[in-house]
């Protein structure tokens, strides 16, 4: 009887061992060899970044990750989180760099001393998406006009005109709040003004789904919207696109080793410089063109960003020392 137990136990253990070996063969496993002058191979370093949902959802990171890992000979861990928690990870020193797109929150992050060496590396635009029949008639308006119309129509007829907000303090959410305030509204008031205003509290994807189902208006960045519509049937379409306020700039910030316990500042700097290097800027600019017919991101180093809100050139050309 005890022998039978042993047999089954050994099978279980063997299975576990085999499986753990399988894990070792994960596609992201790193090749080893160092350059010839280092006879002893340095231990594999794990470089962690926190990135926001918008960048992640487009799959850009899947593309860039193996490239950087090869370039810097590190193991890159990408943690996908909303702007709020991404910056929190930075403050706690749990990640080495953060890549987000929320200017206000980033400014505070840097002012508090947690972030250094901020460099911008890409931009695109937000847009307002909504039901094809456009009940609030926003097509062709500016951003602030559109928001005003949505508010008025929504207050009058909340069952027909609805707006879905990210509601999660993300970069997109911050942009939305900015537009409301530029349109002359107090955001706290808008939040509670009626049932036309829906707070999703989720990432861009589920928020778009919700808007699609509810036939509501929603603010989203172009890249996520394109990527998402390809994978799912969205019934909502782009309505308002051209407006300087829609500018959405992405940047990377290294976490300050003096105020936190991070240890990979060198790799973080390398990473930031790599992002603004001409080669990678090209890659970023070409990403998605084939699949979606239009690029999802615009590189900054080609100087194409000239509108209000674009970062100063030294913020995307000068490498970090």
């Amino acid at each position: 009887m005890i022998k039978k137990n042993l047999n089954i136990f050994s099978i279980l253990i063997a299975v576990t061992v085999i499986l753990s070996l399988l894990i070792g063969c994960a596609p992201a496993a790193q090749p080893a060899p160092p350059s010839p002058q280092y006879p002893v191979h340095a231990p594999l370093t794990r470089f962690k970044i926190a990135t926001t949902t918008s960048l992640y959802d487009t799959g850009l990171w899947y593309y860039l990750e193996p490239m950087f890992e090869k370039y810097a000979d590190v193991e890159m861990d990408i943690i996908y989180a909303g702007t709020g928690i991404a910056l929190e990870y930075g403050k706690r020193g749990d990640v080495d760099a953060v890549v987000v797109h929320d200017p206000a929150a980033e400014a505070q992050f840097i002012a508090q001393g947690y972030g250094i060496n901020q460099r911008y590396f890409a931009y695109n635009f937000f847009l307002i998406i909504g039901p094809p029949n456009d009940p609030a008639g926003i097509k062709g308006s500016t951003a602030t006009e559109a928001f005003k119309k949505i508010y008025e129509a929504g207050m009058k007829d909340p069952d027909t005109v609805k707006f879905v907000s990210r509601g999660d303090n993300s970069g997109t959410h911050s942009k939305e709040k900015l537009i409301w305030s530029k349109a002359g509204f107090n955001y706290a008031y808008i939040e509670k003004s009626g049932k036309w205003y829906i707070e999703a509290g989720q990432g861009m994807g589920p928020t778009l789904m919700m808007a699609s189902q509810q036939q509501a208006y929603v603010l989203a960045d172009i890249s996520t919207f394109l990527a998402y519509s390809k994978k799912n049937n969205l019934t909502i379409v782009s309505l308002v696109e051209q407006d300087p306020i829609f500018l959405n700039v992405y940047d990377a910030i290294a976490v300050n080793p003096d105020t936190t316990k991070v240890q990979n500042i060198n790799i973080a700097n390398k990473f930031i410089n790599w992002l603004i290097s001409p080669e990678i800027q090209n890659v970023i600019g070409g990403y998605g063109k084939a699949e979606y017919g239009r690029p999802l991101f615009f590189p900054l180093t080609d100087g194409s960003c000239k509108m209000e809100g674009c970062p100063p050139p030294e913020k995307y050309t000068t490498p970090v020392q």
């Binding site: 894990i23 992201a28 589920p206 936190t260």
Partner: protein
């Protein structure tokens, strides 16, 4: 509903083509959950015996407390473990955050109350005279304890199976302390969560189907073994 059918087809496709990423995630899921179950089992069996076989002030209260933690939300445990192992937390120097190891630690914390409480319940279900009989036959305290554990083995297996179920099915903790890092800490549950929020519904459903099937197969096999071991 269409998504479920498509997901089902996708699941078959993923399995038949032995999709490497799915294999990798599945393997990792199993290793992490099985490891945490084994560790929690090895810890809680002796601990449960200790509690059961000794009478002390507040024993009843302790058992009640353990049972209270059966349904502690996984995100709550996840949050606490995250705060503990964050670089700015007390155990940050171990550099364990966002690694599979901390996920195992977290799962052990999560499922220990369940396994511990059920081990104690299992031992309580054995006639008290069994221990005495063993002593009378000449067993040492350790040998008598072992016999009682053996008598309760059916119920103890249930405890382990349940612990494993809770480990493999939880999302909150894995997400918070593991970070869902592709190729490193992504497990089936967190992958499903991610795919859902990026809109890859079909893939999410496929993974869900694979996860459920996996859990069913494992549970079924363990139950068969349990019957054989009666």
């Amino acid at each position: 509903m269409n998504a479920i059918w498509q997901g089902f087809l996708k699941a078959i496709e993923l399995i038949l083509t032995l999709n490497p990423e799915v294999l990798e995630i599945t393997a990792r899921t199993l290793v992490i959950s099985i490891s945490s179950t084994i560790i929690a089992g090895l810890m809680c069996l002796p601990l449960g015996s200790l509690i059961h076989f000794h009478n002390f002030h507040g024993k009843r209260t302790l058992i009640n407390l353990i049972q209270t933690f059966y349904s502690v939300p996984t995100v709550a445990v996840g949050l606490i473990v995250f705060l503990l192992f964050s670089r700015s937390g007390p155990l940050g120097f171990l550099e364990l955050l966002f690694t599979p190891q901390v996920m195992v630690i977290g799962q052990v914390i999560l499922i220990s109350p369940v396994i511990l409480g059920l081990v104690i319940a299992a031992l309580s279900g054995v006639d008290k005279a069994a221990y005495e009989t063993a002593i009378a036959i000449g067993a040492s305290q350790f040998q008598a304890t072992t016999i009682v554990i053996r008598e309760a083995r059916y119920a103890i297996y249930s405890a382990i199976i349940l612990g494993f179920g809770r480990a493999i099915s939880e999302v909150g903790l894995a997400l918070m302390v593991g970070g869902n890092i592709r190729g490193y800490t992504r497990v089936m549950t967190t992958a499903i969560s991610l795919d859902t929020s990026t809109g890859d519904i079909v893939l999410a459903v496929a993974l869900g189907i694979i996860l459920i099937s996996l859990a069913l197969i494992i549970n079924f096999s363990l139950s068969r073994l349990q019957q054989r071991w009666r």
